[in-house]
Symmetry: C2
Subunit: 490 residues, 2 copies
């Protein structure tokens, strides 16, 4: 199975594309830019959703659902918002097809919409138009709502999971009585995302703020978490926006405060998407296939029988079922692969490709000796252990692997975060080693843009709790009070 997987060294991008397809995660559909998420890939998304949804609810949020379509006029109400999204919008103009009389199905021009509808690229506008009806007084606040939904952004160059015309995500939209509360919410949700990335995805992230240039269209402040992929490119893994009163003003959403004053409502929005599946793949996987952190793996343990006779097969199957039952009682997902048309070596390669964390192999000699061969996917270490205590061993191993995968990614990031003090040094690092580059910048959009044009590197973020340090901009020599984090990015 893993034969034919291009190595990361040879062509990282090709490796990724092949891996996503061969591991049955997703594939391109017949619709330009839209993907099909296959059952194995979707199972990872379901695990991500379950963990995130619990975190959202534990922080007081409820789910709701808002329309897929947004009237063009709503969409245009917040100036910078429409500016940011207008060039990538799918537009619905008609609501009926008809037979043209010659047997062809055509769009019925008599069924043209009076006002075009935009397929939501994000839902601030339709949601704030709705909130207008929900909010009169401070007693109606805060509103803490999240939506799990599909969104469409008409991307010209697409890649499975990383950039697709349609993707799945969640978008939180909250409304508050004060600026302070809204900022706290923005920061709280950033921390939820960071917690999820690090403790579920095993991907260490830098928490930071975007520069004005890179802000969400309509936000006063965009917070983000940034992760580093194995090719040294950064990936934005989640964003949390402080929207100020921009959308409340655009949709005239006011409330009466405790003191009886009328004011516009304060807003946040925050989201993560199926893009995280791309990050998960690129952060940990190797030339044999996926490496999945146990907490998000659809199958945590696979059992492969190795037998020379039907009788041996029956005995192994009996043992495998016994083990499966014990594992399930511990909430460990397990699959017994009893297909008789495939050889064990083929199955081993398949589960390596699919990143199943723990593989058990049981042969005739194991039956005699009361042993099991156990292999861990991340390090590929194998050992033969006693059947007794197997379940406890696996429980410990899954916890250890989750931590070990995180540690490896953290070490990689540390090894690939460098300081540059001159623009030459900066460019040399990017070209030779990539990774995060920490450098002084004069704080202007002009310089930021020049760096991007000349090096393809962008400011990923101004890290939170950044150390203040006097310096000069590596490009203009103007004074700077802190380093910011650059990288080439997905």
């Amino acid at each position: 199975m893993s034969k034919g997987l291009t190595s990361r060294e040879d062509d990282y991008s090709q490796w990724y594309n092949e891996l996503v397809t061969k591991a049955d995660m997703a594939e391109h559909s017949a619709v330009r830019g839209c993907m099909v998420i296959k059952p194995y890939g979707y199972a990872i998304w379901e695990n991500m959703q379950a963990a995130l949804d619990k975190m959202f609810k534990d922080t007081g949020h409820s789910n709701a659902y808002f329309p897929l379509f947004i009237p063009k006029s709503f969409f245009s109400k917040e100036a910078s918002h429409v500016e940011g999204f207008a060039t990538e919008c799918a537009v619905v103009t008609h609501y009926r097809l008809k037979n043209d009389g010659n047997g062809n199905i055509i769009v019925d021009e008599d069924a043209k919409l009076e006002e075009e509808l935009i397929v939501r690229p994000t839902s601030e506008t339709i949601i704030w138009n709705t909130y207008k009806g929900w909010i009169q007084s401070y007693r109606d606040l805060p509103i803490l709502v999240n939506q799990w939904a599909n969104v469409v952004r008409w991307e010209m160059r697409t890649r499975l999971f990383l950039r697709t015309a349609e993707f799945l995500w969640q978008e939180g939209h909250t409304a508050h009585a004060t600026s302070q509360e809204a900022i706290e919410e923005t920061e709280r949700m950033l921390e939820v995302y960071a917690d999820f990335a690090e403790n579920w995805m095993a991907v260490p992230v830098i928490r930071g703020k975007k520069t004005a240039n890179e802000r969400f269209a309509g936000a006063l402040d965009t917070y983000c978490i940034e992760a580093l992929m194995q090719d040294g490119k950064a990936l934005q893994a989640g964003t949390s926006h402080f929207l100020g009163q921009n959308f409340a003003k655009a949709f005239d959403v006011k409330f009466t405060s405790k003191e009886g004053k009328l004011d516009h409502v304060w807003a946040t929005s925050w989201g993560v998407s199926t893009r995280l599946i791309g990050a998960l793949i690129m952060a940990h996987s190797d030339d044999s296939g996926l490496v999945l952190p146990p907490k998000l793996a659809p199958i945590q343990v696979v059992i492969v029988p190795i037998y020379r006779s039907d009788e041996e097969f029956d005995k192994i199957s009996e043992l495998a079922k016994e083990i499966s039952k014990e594992l399930k009682l511990k909430n460990i997902s397990v699959k017994y692969d009893n297909r008789d048309t495939l050889r064990p070596g083929f199955k081993f390669a398949e589960y390596e490709l699919k990143g199943v964390p723990v593989r058990l192999a049981i042969g005739g000699r194991d039956l005699e000796n009361g042993t099991i061969e156990i292999a861990r996917r991340d390090t590929k270490e194998k050992q033969t252990i006693s059947r007794d205590g197997l379940v406890g061993h696996i429980e410990d191993l899954l916890i250890e692997m989750q931590q070990s995968i995180f540690n490896k990614a953290l070490k990689f990031r540390e090894d690939n975060t460098r300081e540059a003090n001159t623009y030459e040094e900066f460019k040399a690092i990017l070209d030779e080693k990539a990774g995060f580059v920490s450098a002084h910048w004069d704080g202007t959009s002009e310089t930021e843009k020049r760096i991007k044009d000349e090096t393809k590197a962008t400011i990923r973020c101004i890290p939170l709790n950044n150390k203040l340090e006097e310096g000069v901009c590596m490009v203009t020599g103007k004074p700077s009070s802190q380093r910011v984090l650059f990288a080439r990015a997905y």
Copy 2:
């Protein structure tokens, strides 16, 4: 709160509309025909999803995700399918907006799609186009996939939950090697739906098959479950379709059998939607508000404090927290309403309106006596019981209520299912009492259509395991071998 809710007797339709809005279930959005599902309504959908998803997985299905958009040409490949859906399709024709130079945002005519995209009204076509790449041999079968998604059908007259332009649903799409297997799957999933309707929604259903007229566009056979609402109108609560080889032929999906023969694949599809929330509301609720079966209620128990002093309030709150903790340990969802700006009577009415199954009220005297007042929503019975054993009492009560709500609905259906032996009798029943009417019919589409035109009643289904009975069609007098079930329907 419940003041102003029109009674069912006065205007059932108005009662429903008001109830959905006042109970914070859903509201109309600014987009024609599209609803906003509010947190309380969405929480019921989440409970429905969780139960159904587990049933789908227990019967071997996995979830996946397919594109929102369907190329017009795919959509047209199955003749009766496009015929069935063409008149209600949202069509995407452009992928970009632009500023017209005068500050107006307009559709960019330079960004016209070569081929229009249909927003999925159902996904058979895009899925079978995908399955073509997944299926070569019998070893690739069966494929048992489900999708949770939004779909759009451009309805002209819409009602919250019951008929909306966009709705949420699940659609199962399975592929099989034999006709027999596909029929078994169709029937299995109908049984899953019936099980869910009866044991979770507490709504008794008739399992049956649709007549040719009422079949899904592209199906050889449509199975359905039919429920009866309190106004005597029927509601189709779920459908399961045996699609034969229609979609496999339209998309050229063939497989090599064990015997080495090439054949088209056999298909099923099945779905239920947010319409079920409408059915849930209409089946059980009363003039005071929602009546929710405990298994699907977002809040199963609410605790309301009744106090005359801060000191009393503190003591009641302590007890309420203790009880809440005990209930949560039993997986019973509970809310302690400690809002100090509202009177108990107001809260009582609010939770009646929202259909919270069990209400506990704790007052000063209860503290002294070690008692609690407990009220059940369905019958509105109240009693004062001892604090000791409260949790066990509530556990039993929730089970009893679930059953009791079902029994009431079943009795209603039995009381409102009648036989008609002449067309006059048939029309009289419909006009005077409505409900299900069991009658003989000659089996032709012409007669079916005439009955519909003249009485607005449709054949809801030919019940499964129907009793054979010689008779004559009530309209044409032609021979008939069984009665079928008629009703006016949502």
